[in-house]
């Protein structure tokens, strides 16, 4: 891999030069800031920006890129084509942004490779008239106008194209981590430096003793973004005070949930911010070895991250005697094997040790005995990303964002059936209604909203009447935690009325059952048993007492499992049988599914038209759902 960076003026690669002192860095930072301003605010010729992420690649963004390069060359048009990170507007992909000299930055939606010629005619050769409708070139619709410096900085209007802040998707967003998304080339370290990057690193290395850094993070009340919301400062302090050498810093970049892709996008879009945060963290706790543990299923993120670490090493931010401060650190990108459970902190350590990634009992916690039995500080990608900004602006700046108990912003992936599928960043404390109906734009095809699944695979459902609750880590009356909603890693799935909750509950349990590592009995057998019951209900063989069994067994699995997977696996089920009891009872008593999504139930209903009574089971309990049947009762175990 070449240790070079892409020069934005010529498109050619530019070697990364080593900086060996703070003065060196400050000189480079000054030059790069000036260069960035010059090249972005006053482009000399039309510039095409194409966002690259795994999502846009799936939509054909590389094809669009090469189509632009080839067509501009063939037609002899002087214009630059640049690769940048991607804004998160998945529903409009592939998005192409065009800046012309003296004109704002206009984004166009759904530009597939066959529309490239028309877009060149309209926006590069011709002048954009700013028409959202009735334009001469069919099929090309602008998305919005972005600012030159920041996504919400656009003020100059072009026709009736909305400003970014006017789109419902962007309306409630506040982008702190994602501020450079869509602006910098993730493969160019100088873009990041030009945007103020690595400034916090020098501040931390030269101006702040490690204890001050930890105090700042503690004061800022930065809570872990991986799911549990554990205060990061407390963890760092524990790692700093732990006895044992060497100490390790591990970035947990292994998210394997079926509806979360925020960490992947961070690594594909802004890898240097993660590297910077990780160096500061390692310096604060006195570690000299770092790992970034990425699941194997993210090839683009791995390559981008590896490139970023190489560049940081070449620039002198990693290695021996970083910027002449006398501090050494090296970071490795470590590719995990791809198992959801590897994202659990103690399992991840075994993954790095080349063993089966199974969680272990705690204590000792990983800050005392982690990788190879040494003190290890494991943090999520998003948590580490906040560190540079908190160091730069101070803890009070961070506390002013979000709510009192959950400060800051949160990256959210919204999936399922909203209009705007995508990646967004909202301040904590935003109501769920804003997330579904503004960031998500409501439900696709204007169907009715049914429920939203929270917390990746491990949270409850929220109905329409719960949507005024706030997105936080807490359990207060105003927080989503009060109705089994879990913020978790920020993955939300929106359901419309065509989705069968019985089917989806089975899907979640099947995922957890498949991903259960099998080490502890409650999770290994509990998820299997719960799945058996759900399978039975979904195939028309359910019994009324199954409802009680699901509830009771779920509680046992939650209270007795070893790690977070088992403790959270039954939450969607518990929430579903509470909120959608009617739907389950309909499946159990009448073998009917109003949504028509459970194929077995649909088949029974079809057959029943010919043979009334087909598939009816003798019920052991009364039809009002109260159980008179047999339920195996276990003695509850309370966990201290």
């Amino acid at each position: 891999m070449s240790m070079s960076s892409i020069d934005m003026t010529t498109g050619a690669e530019r070697a990364v030069e080593k900086m060996s002192s703070r003065a060196d860095f400050e000189q480079v930072a000054q030059d790069e800031t000036a260069r960035w301003q010059r090249e972005y605010n006053n482009v000399a010729r039309p510039t095409v920006l194409i966002g690259i992420s795994s999502s846009s690649v799936a939509h054909g963004a590389w094809k669009v890129y090469f189509e632009f390069v080839n067509q501009l060359k063939q037609r002899g048009i002087a214009a630059d084509v640049r690769v940048v990170s991607e804004m998160g507007t998945n529903w409009a992909m592939p998005v192409v942004d065009i800046i012309k000299p003296g004109s704002p930055r206009i984004a166009y939606q759904i530009i597939t490779a066959d529309k490239v010629g028309a877009l060149i005619d309209r926006a590069i050769v011709g002048d954009e008239r700013g028409g959202m409708s009735g334009d001469p070139v069919k099929d090309i619709v602008p998305l919005c106008v972005y600012g030159h410096e920041a996504w919400d900085g656009g003020t100059v209007r072009v026709g009736d194209i909305p400003l970014a802040k006017e789109l419902p998707f962007y309306e409630v967003q506040q982008r702190i981590l994602m501020r450079d998304f869509g602006y910098v080339n993730p493969r160019n370290i100088y873009d990041y430096i030009g945007r103020g990057g690595y400034g916090s690193l020098t501040k931390a290395l030269f101006d702040m003793p490690p204890t001050d850094i930890i105090d700042t993070i503690k004061k800022s009340n930065l809570r872990g973004r991986g799911g549990a919301g554990f205060p990061a400062g407390t963890k760092w302090e524990g790692a700093r005070n732990a006895k044992g050498e060497p100490k390790y810093v591990v970035c947990n970049a292994h998210e394997g949930e079926p509806n979360v892709f925020k960490d992947r996008r961070i690594m594909e879009g802004e890898p240097h911010m993660l590297v910077e945060g990780m160096i500061i963290e390692a310096f604060a706790i006195g570690s000299h070895i770092g790992y970034i543990y990425i699941g194997d299923e993210y090839p683009l993120a791995i390559r981008t991250m590896e490139h970023a670490v190489e560049q940081a090493r070449a620039a002198g931010f990693l290695g021996k005697n970083i910027l002449g401060s006398g501090y050494d650190l090296d970071i490795q990108v470590y590719m995990g094997g791809g198992a959801y459970i590897s994202g659990e902190a103690s399992a991840l350590q075994f993954g790095i040790e080349g063993q089966r990634a199974m969680p272990r009992t705690k204590p000792p916690r990983s800050v005392e005995a982690g990788v190879f039995g040494k003190p290890t500080c494991v943090n999520n990608v998003e948590t580490m990303m906040y560190v540079p900004d908190i160091i730069r602006h101070g803890a009070d700046w961070f506390l002013a964002l979000g709510t009192a108990k959950s400060p800051g912003t949160k990256m959210v992936t919204l999936m399922g059936l909203p209009k705007y599928v995508g990646l967004s960043e909202v301040p904590l404390g935003t109501t769920m209604r804003d997330i579904v109906f503004k960031v998500g734009g409501g439900i696709r095809n204007d169907r009715p909203f049914k429920a939203i699944q929270t917390g990746g695979t491990s949270g409850g459902l929220m109905l329409d009447q719960h949507l005024d609750l706030q997105l936080t880590f807490d359990n207060g009356p105003q927080d989503m935690g009060s109705v089994k909603g879990v913020l978790g890693s920020g993955g939300f799935v929106v359901y419309d009325d065509s989705v069968s909750i019985v089917d989806m509950t089975r899907y979640w349990m099947r995922f957890n059952r498949y991903e259960s590592c099998g080490k502890c009995v409650p999770c290994r057998i509990g998820t299997k048993s719960l799945l058996d019951i759900l399978d039975r209900i979904a195939t028309g063989l359910g019994r009324v007492e199954d409802m009680d069994a699901l509830k009771e067994w779920s509680e046992h699995v939650i209270s007795m499992s070893l790690c977070g997977l088992g403790q959270a696996a039954p939450l969607p089920t518990l929430s579903a049988i509470e909120l959608f009891r009617d739907e389950f009872m309909e499946a159990i008593l009448n073998q009917n599914d109003p949504t028509g999504r459970n194929e077995a139930l649909v088949a029974i209903q079809q057959r029943r038209r010919l043979e009334p009574g087909y598939g009816r089971l003798p019920q052991l309990a009364t039809s009002n759902g109260s159980s008179q049947g047999k339920v195996i009762t276990l003695t509850p175990v309370t966990r201290k």
């Binding site: 690669e13 939509h59 090493r313 021996k320 590719m335 791809g338 063993q355």
Partner: protein
């Protein structure tokens, strides 16, 4: 691991001397740490790992074969047999699942006769449903075939994709086959009522989409190979 025996795909045997070379790249870190990178290297090169490689790696890294084998079998990325010539991925992330991937999975199972993670016995097609989101959920259900993504795939469209594979892989053989010969037992079952299914809008499957690799090649071509910046020793 005995399922290696009845695999007919044209696949390279894992060369144990090459395995030793891969192990040698990781001598500077502890053997436990090196285990995963070594096997990722082997899998990248050959597309699968096998028992012989397990023993060789255990010997080279001075680990017990049991430990090597137990670690490998835990992670689903390691394949124990070579994948097919064509890779058919079906996204089963929750976004796609809400739009109905169950039916698509059944289409594949019925027509190709293979389940999740399996390869047709002639080594032509591998089918892999997975739940790691590809982040293109507004196109759901999403299918990836040989690096090309297809959105809004319904049963008819899935049938078209399989028809196209069928045409590429089996038609020539079918024309040559005399009635009663082996080739008549087509591995791909005909689509139900596929008589006049239009396949005009199915892209040419063999054409690979460009990727980061092409981009890097283009960037290097523009600037010429860069001299190393001389900082390699900082590693």
């Amino acid at each position: 691991m005995s399922d290696q025996a009845h695999h007919y795909a044209v696949a390279r045997e894992i060369d144990l001397s090459r395995v030793r070379e891969i192990c040698d790249q990781y001598r500077n870190i502890s053997p436990e740490e090196a285990l995963m990178p070594v096997f990722q290297g082997i899998q990248e090169e050959y597309g699968f790992v096998n028992e012989a490689a397990c023993y060789e790696v255990a010997h080279q890294l001075n680990l017990s074969p049991t430990q090597v084998y137990s670690s490998l079998t835990f992670y689903w990325i390691y394949k124990w047999r070579p994948g097919g010539k064509h890779r058919l991925f079906l996204c089963e992330g929750s976004g796609c699942y809400t739009t109905g991937t169950t039916r698509l999975r059944r289409v594949v199972e019925e027509r190709l006769g293979i389940g999740a993670g399996e390869t047709t016995f002639d080594g032509k097609i591998t089918f892999q449903p997975f739940s790691t989101c590809m982040g293109a959920c507004e196109w759901s259900p999403l299918v990836e075939l040989d690096g090309e993504f297809y959105g809004f795939v319904d049963e008819a469209r899935m049938n078209q994709l399989i028809d196209e594979l069928n045409r590429q892989e089996y038609d020539a053989a079918d024309q040559l086959a005399a009635p009663g010969s082996d080739a008549q037992y087509a591995l791909v079952a005909p689509a139900p009522n596929s008589g006049d299914a239009s396949t005009a809008n199915v892209a040419q499957i063999s054409e690979r989409a460009p990727s980061l690799t092409e981009y890097e090649a283009e960037q290097t071509a523009q600037s010429g190979p860069q001299p190393n910046s001389g900082n390699a020793d900082t590693r």
